[in-house]
Structures are given as C-alpha cells and as structure tokens.
Amino acid sequence: MAQTINFGAITTTATTARQDILTTTPGATLKLKTIVMSGFLTTWSATEANLGTVFLQVGGVDKMEFRIQNTDNDTLAGIVVIPLGDGLLFSGAEAILIEVTPAAVTSMRWTATLFFDTV
C-alpha cells in the first residue's frame, strides 16, 4: 500500500457560486480514507460569520453540502474532517469535485485534502 494525497486550495473574493477547490478522478486501485476541508478568512477575525457553503460531488452529483463558519478563538471551526474508515472505493471513472459558494466578497482561503491509500 502507498499513500496518495490530493490537495487543492483557492482564495475567493467573490460570491460566485460553485467555485472549484479540488477535483480529481481516483483510480480503481485507490480507496479514500479521509476528507479534510477548511475555510478561513484571509485576514483573521474573531467575529463569528458565515463563510460559505461547501459541496462535495461524486460523478457530477451532489453528495454532501454543509456550511463553514468563522468563529472566535475559543471555539474551533472552519474545518471539516470526514473519516471513512478503511476507505471508499471508486470505479476509476468517477470524478470527485469539492466546490464552494462564498457567502461574502471578503477574501477567504479554502482548502481540501483527500487522503487515499492503495487497495
């Protein structure tokens, strides 16, 4: 087994819908173990705010939708970790797409990481 890690990051300054953070088509020999996504303001703020909505698509179909928020220092947010146990398998022709619709034009940084292992 060997690791494959896909990483994508964008900085948004517009509320354009569905901006791509990361897209990849995993091979049939890979299993997806964990998904990590984060969003934060480029200029740090301790003010709670809705940053935007993140979508996870597989094969062009929405599979997950959730919101990422900015919070103050004492509560940690802006990060989503989705553990998938011993991994999800793909056919080799299914594209994974992670995209975001920012809630404001304020500069934000969005990142996504997909941790794969070999079947």
């Binding site: 087994m1 060997a2 690791q3 890690i5 990483f7 990051a9 173990k33 964990t34 990590v36 984060s38 934060f40 200029t43 740090w44 301790a46 220092n73 940690l76 947010a77 802006g78 990060i79 970790v81 553990p83 998938l84 146990g85 011993d86 991994g87 940084r109 990142t111 990481t113 941790f115 292992d117």
Partner: protein, 288 residues
C-alpha cells in the same frame, strides 16, 4: 477533625509518597534531561531546617521583542510531502496559558485526521510541517512550536513517533516545524499533532531535588507581560508547618532552558533553621 499528612523524603532512590495512598515506592526517572543547575541550599552543620516552602521562577531578561502578536497574527501551516503541499490550515496567534497552549483552526487534538490504519510513506519520502510567521508592526513574533508525527514502522509494525520542538523568531517564509525522511522500513502515518504557543512563554522544566532525589518537576512559563499572575505557574510549593531536613541535606534546583535567549531561572527555599543543641526553640527564619 483535622487530618494531618506529612511527606518524608528518605535517602533511598525512591520518590516519596504520602502515607495512606497505598502506592508502592517506585524509582523515578526524570522527565527531561536537566542541563543547568540553578542553585542549592544545604542545611548547615549544627542545624536542622523546617522547609516551609519552595518556589521556582523562570523569566526572560531584556527581551527586545514582545511575544504577543498584538494584531492577532495568522500563521499558515502546511503539511508537505516531498515538497508538495498536501494540507493547509491556519493557527491564529493569541495569548495562551499553560492550560490552553493549543489553538488552531485545525485542532488536531480534537479533530484527528483519522487515517484508520494509516497512510504509508516509502523510503526517501520527506514529510514535514512548515509555517510562515508574518511580522506585525515591524515586529516578528516568537512562537514556540511543538509537532509530532505518530505512526508505525511499516515493516516491523513497531511504533514510530517523530517529535520536534522549535522556536521560530523570523518572518521568513516556510520555516520548518518538523521534518522526517522516511527510512527504508517505511513509515505508516496515523496522526499529526501540532501546537503553538505565544505569550506566557514556555520556558522548559525545572526540577527540585532533595538529597539528590528528584521530588518535583515544574513546567515553567514567563510572565508574558501580563499583570494577571494567576495564569502563570510559578511553582510555589507550600509545606504547612515545614518539611524537616537534617544538617547536610541539600535542596537543588535544576533547569533545562529550551531557547537561546537571555533569561533567568530562580529557586527560592523558605524555612526555619533550628539549632540542634537548642531543640524546639531558637528558630531562625530564612529565605535561602
């Protein structure tokens, strides 16, 4: 009813335990390697001493730059594999005390990556965490970083834990927090831990030895320009009506400074020296 307990340190290579706790005597291995002796007090001949309290302090001397990022600086941390970014998250800079040294937008302590049985890296892979600490108002923050890669030897299955601790004092981009070159046996990464602290700066540990035996290990912090003393562990240990030491006994203070800065470590011993010939009277109070 008032219950009274006392702690007696004997001369055997054991750590003393309070009576009635039922624990066996065990040999104590120091937590850290102490490199510096701060000072010592020896009970003078002809006296025994009632130690009323111990205090250890550590502080920076003439630090030119403030440790606190006054404008809430943001540090970006990247997880890289062979020089390629694989994960990016942010650590906000704010005041931390010893109980809350860990703060990050990606709180590894609470949100483990959960790689199940891990990700395997092969011989020659370089995995590392890097960060960039921007200056604020012309001043560069001094941040203490501590990171760990937890994993296993891919071949043998033995635990393989890589730990690094560093203090970053420059705003140069891509400073390395921890780096690991995977050996021939391979490395299966299970988890990543990272923490950063600023202000109320961790100074390392101080040790107190009585008659050569380790009795206390105290994590030390600086004042960090705070006026609220309660947030910083200064290591004052009271002993009520006194810890009895016979003449010739010694109390030593050791420290292990973790940074190359002008700093002071102090060990204070409070007590009463009693002339042995006089007995219960004739106590002389001292700070040693």
């Amino acid at each position: 009813m008032i219950d009274y307990k006392s702690l007696k340190i004997d001369t055997s290579s054991k750590r003393g335990v309070l009576q009635d706790l039922g624990e066996a005597w065990t040999t104590r291995v120091p937590f850290v390697g102490y490199t510096n002796k701060v000072g010592a007090y020896t009970v003078p001949s002809g006296y025994n001493t009632k130690i009323k309290g111990l205090m250890a302090i550590a502080d920076d001397e003439n630090i030119a730059l403030p440790r606190l990022g006054a404008n809430s600086l943001v540090f970006t941390v990247l997880f890289q594999v062979n020089g390629v970014n694989k994960m990016e998250f942010r650590v906000p800079a704010f005041a931390a005390d010893f109980n809350t040294m860990m703060r990050t937008d990606f709180n590894f302590n609470d949100s483990f990556i959960r790689l199940f049985d891990g990700l395997q890296f092969v011989n020659g892979d370089v995995i590392r965490l890097v960060t960039t600490q921007p200056a604020s108002a012309g001043l560069v923050p001094q941040i203490h970083w501590d990171a760990t890669f937890l994993g296993k030897d891919t071949t043998t299955g033995d635990d393989n834990i890589q730990k690094a601790e560093t203090i970053i004092t420059v705003s140069t981009a891509t400073q390395v927090i921890i780096t690991y070159t995977v050996p021939a046996n391979g490395f299966t990464l299970r988890n990543i831990f990272v923490q950063a602290s600023t202000e109320g700066f961790y100074k390392g540990f101080m040790a107190v030895l009585v008659n050569g035996q380790l009795v206390l290990e105290l994590p030390m912090q600086t004042s960090g320009y705070r006026t609220t003393a309660g947030k910083h562990f200064r290591g004052f240990i009271p002993f009520f009506d006194g810890l009895n030491l016979a003449h010739g006994s010694t109390i030593e203070y050791l420290c292990n400074p973790i940074e190359a800065l002008n700093q002071k470590f102090g060990g204070y011993t409070f007590g009463n020296e009693i002339q042995e010939a006089v007995g219960s009277g004739g106590e002389i109070s001292h700070v040693f």
